[in-house]
């Protein structure tokens, strides 16, 4: 019901723009949203601003992205200030009337999720903390269905002719997700209570869902690169002994993790922080399955895991 005004507005703008454009352009800030939107609208054109090899906080509003944004019908982004360093400049320079804050053409996944650790008070001495909470919500098995539903509704509203197909694909996605989710839940039992050293909170939602402790961070403050003094501090942390591995994302510099690994003989797990072009990890469900596979092989002793 609360989407009704939005729906009507979207239908009206959709009807006006329908004859002019034969196809549908989706601009995704991160590849996970391309993967999700492609599930619902496989025939649309996609531009993805970032890849799993890039830190999504630090992208530039470069000319190719401005051109793509100006052509797009919808921009699908994470929100919660993840793209604060570049998306506002991109929106302003592209000047796309449909894709502006408050318009249906700008979809923020974080608006449809409950973020972890929102802050009432934030200042810069805390590092790059997002007042809205941890924005890396795309790996949350519980939150994704909400986001996917909202995205499917939005796309359907913008393309009413295709909305039945979009809804059918969403239902199919949802069934598949539930199936996967049950499987992950089963496998989480063996991982529960284990701990990892991480670098940034990119995998935070999934690790928490799996019951893995991930409070030891190579970053001294969120968003600051690992420093020698902080790594030494970490080395003296008594909790370090229990950590099964050091988990970092593909786009991160491996040197700090390698240093800690050399000191502690703990294995390093380098995992893509989002979907990739590889067929093993090109959807979010496959990515999460793959991450769990890798975690399982990094934490082989099953029996003593749970508390």
């Amino acid at each position: 019901m609360r989407y009704l005004p939005l729906f009507i507005a979207a239908v009206l703008t959709g009807l006006i723009s329908l004859p002019a454009r034969a196809d549908f352009h989706v601009f995704a800030c991160e590849p996970e949203w391309t993967a999700l939107a492609r599930t619902f609208m496989p025939d649309a054109h996609f531009t993805t601003a970032t890849s799993y090899l890039q830190d999504p906080h630090y992208i530039e509003a470069r000319p190719s992205l401005i051109a793509a944004m100006s052509r797009a019908d919808i921009a699908v982004c994470t929100g919660a200030s993840l793209e604060a360093g570049w998306l506002p400049a991109l929106l302003q320079r592209a000047g796309n009337t449909d894709i502006q804050p408050g318009q249906p053409g700008l979809f923020f996944a974080a608006d449809h999720a409950q973020l972890f650790a929102p802050h009432d008070h934030v200042d810069r001495s805390m590092g790059d903390v997002h007042p809205e909470g941890n924005p890396h919500v795309h790996l949350s098995p519980d939150q994704l269905p909400n986001i996917a539903k909202a995205l499917a509704e939005r796309l359907g509203a913008m393309r009413p002719d295709n909305s039945a197909d979009i809804f059918a694909r969403y239902i199919k996605w949802r069934v598949n997700w539930n199936f996967h989710s049950a499987n992950w839940q089963e496998r989480a039992k063996a991982l529960q209570g284990r701990s990892l050293v991480i670098q940034h909170t990119g995998f935070g939602y999934l690790l928490r869902w799996l019951g893995i402790d991930a409070t030891m961070d190579l970053e001294p403050k969120p968003g600051l690169p690992p420093s020698a003094s902080h790594l030494n501090q970490l080395l003296a942390d008594p909790r370090l002994e229990d950590a099964a591995a050091i988990l970092i994302a593909s786009h991160q510099n491996q040197k700090p993790a390698q240093w800690l690994s050399a000191q502690t003989r703990k294995p390093i797990l380098v995992l893509p922080g989002t979907v990739t072009d590889d067929s093993k990890t090109d959807t979010l469900a496959e990515l999460i399955s793959e991450i769990i596979n890798r975690l399982e092989s990094a934490m082989p002793e099953v029996a003593n895991g749970s508390l």
């Binding site: 890849s51 090899l53 830190d55 630090y58 051109a67 302003q92 000047g95 502006q100 790059d128 510099n253």
Partner: protein, 372 residues
């Protein structure tokens, strides 16, 4: 009335949320602090020898409604013990119009060239290239109107025109003293490489018209004391700028590493009514900056400028060659410390020198997204 029946905890919660809501209605406040120590005085410099403050900016910006956004940037400067408050930006701008159009009105930085439209605190070196300092007063801003159009091409192609009062560049009586034309194209060469190129033209109508009354404008010595931070010291009726930028990061991951190569060429002619076709200003620079780690960058820049200084009915030639080498450390995205060595060699200037400069640039509060 309502308060009495709401339990205390709920009340405080309500206050908190309403407080956050009100805060979101306030404009974003952003303050830039910029200070330096400079060993020696240099030619065409806007930074004083010794300890000094640079571009201290206080900026307020916010969406006005769904159609407009607005921004005010005031700059606090001090010259020879006198404090000045300058309005560098005070504009409203559309948030998207049909046909890829974009309008900006009020006071703003002209979009000519690559550097001019950028805020000074984004710069990679302590000062702008000599050609910018001479021909644009480091950064040319003025009061006027801009119309830009993003063309519906598969690559990035923008065209734009601006009309300005022109009084910030040189004195005059024209209502519209300056107009500019600009076009910009750009794209990606691969995931790792991107580029942009631009051509700009600036027409200064106040050069030929008012020459009799304001011939002294160009006499650097007369005006130097007061005027050196705003207007350009050297002007011409026509200014042409060509710029090109190329950026490279492994896998496009600018967080870890980025190399930026930029170059600009500036040419100004019709300097005044006495100028012959041999009298023109010309300058260029090439800059390479390598951010080799998330917090570190190093850069080198070489530039030249050939100028014609007006002396009544004739000109004196001036020439400046400048090399800058810098190393910068950024603790976070919001703080930068920079060490720079500048080598100048000049003819026609008396005070060319080499200098070491140490600079900090920090930003407090909201931090607007940067352009390319």
């Amino acid at each position: 009335m309502l308060n009495r029946i709401v339990p205390f905890t709920a009340l405080s919660l309500a206050l908190l949320t309403s407080g956050a809501g009100a805060n979101e209605l306030n404009p974003d406040v952003s303050l830039t602090l910029d200070g330096h120590y400079k060993q020696n005085d240099t030619v065409l410099s806007h930074r004083e020898q010794g300890f000094g403050l640079g571009h201290t900016e206080l900026s307020l910006s916010s969406p006005i409604d769904d159609l407009f956004s607005g921004r005010l940037t005031t700059v606090f400067e001090e010259h020879d013990g006198e404090s000045e408050i300058l309005i560098e930006e005070a504009y409203l701008q559309t948030n998207g119009l049909p046909l890829g159009l974009n309008v900006r009105a009020g006071r703003f930085l002209s979009q000519v060239g690559y550097l001019n439209g950028r805020h000074m605190h984004e710069d990679d070196f302590v000062e702008r290239p000599a050609a910018y300092r001479a021909l644009l007063g480091s950064h040319y801003y003025d009061t006027g109107l801009r119309l830009n159009a993003l063309l519906p091409t598969p690559f990035y192609w923008q065209i734009g025109a601006e009309a300005f009062s022109g009084d910030q560049l040189s004195e005059g009586t024209e209502d519209i003293g300056v107009y500019t034309l600009n076009t910009r194209v750009g794209g990606d060469l691969s995931a790792a490489q991107s580029w942009q190129a631009g051509l700009s033209y600036l027409h200064n109508r106040q050069i030929s018209v008012d020459e009799e009354d304001h011939g002294h404008d160009h006499d650097l010595d007369d005006e130097h004391g007061h005027d050196h931070s705003h207007g350009a010291s050297y002007t011409g009726e026509n200014l042409y700028i060509a710029d090109v930028v190329w950026k490279w990061s492994p896998n496009g991951n600018t967080r870890e590493q980025q190399f930026t190569l930029s170059a600009e060429y500036l040419y100004a002619d019709d300097l005044n009514k006495f100028a012959t076709s041999d009298d023109y200003h010309e300058g260029w620079y090439v800059s390479g900056v390598h951010q080799f780690a998330p917090q570190w960058s190093a850069g080198i820049r070489y530039g030249e400028v050939d100028l014609r200084e007006a002396h009544g009915d004739h000109f004196h030639s001036q020439r400046l060659k400048e090399t800058d080498v810098m190393l910068a450390w950024s603790r976070s995205h919001f703080s930068t410390l920079r060490l720079q060595y500048t080598h100048q060699s000049a003819t026609g200037f008396s005070n060319a020198d080499n200098t070491v400069a140490l600079q900090y640039v920090v930003s407090l509060g909201a931090h607007g997204a940067h352009g390319y």
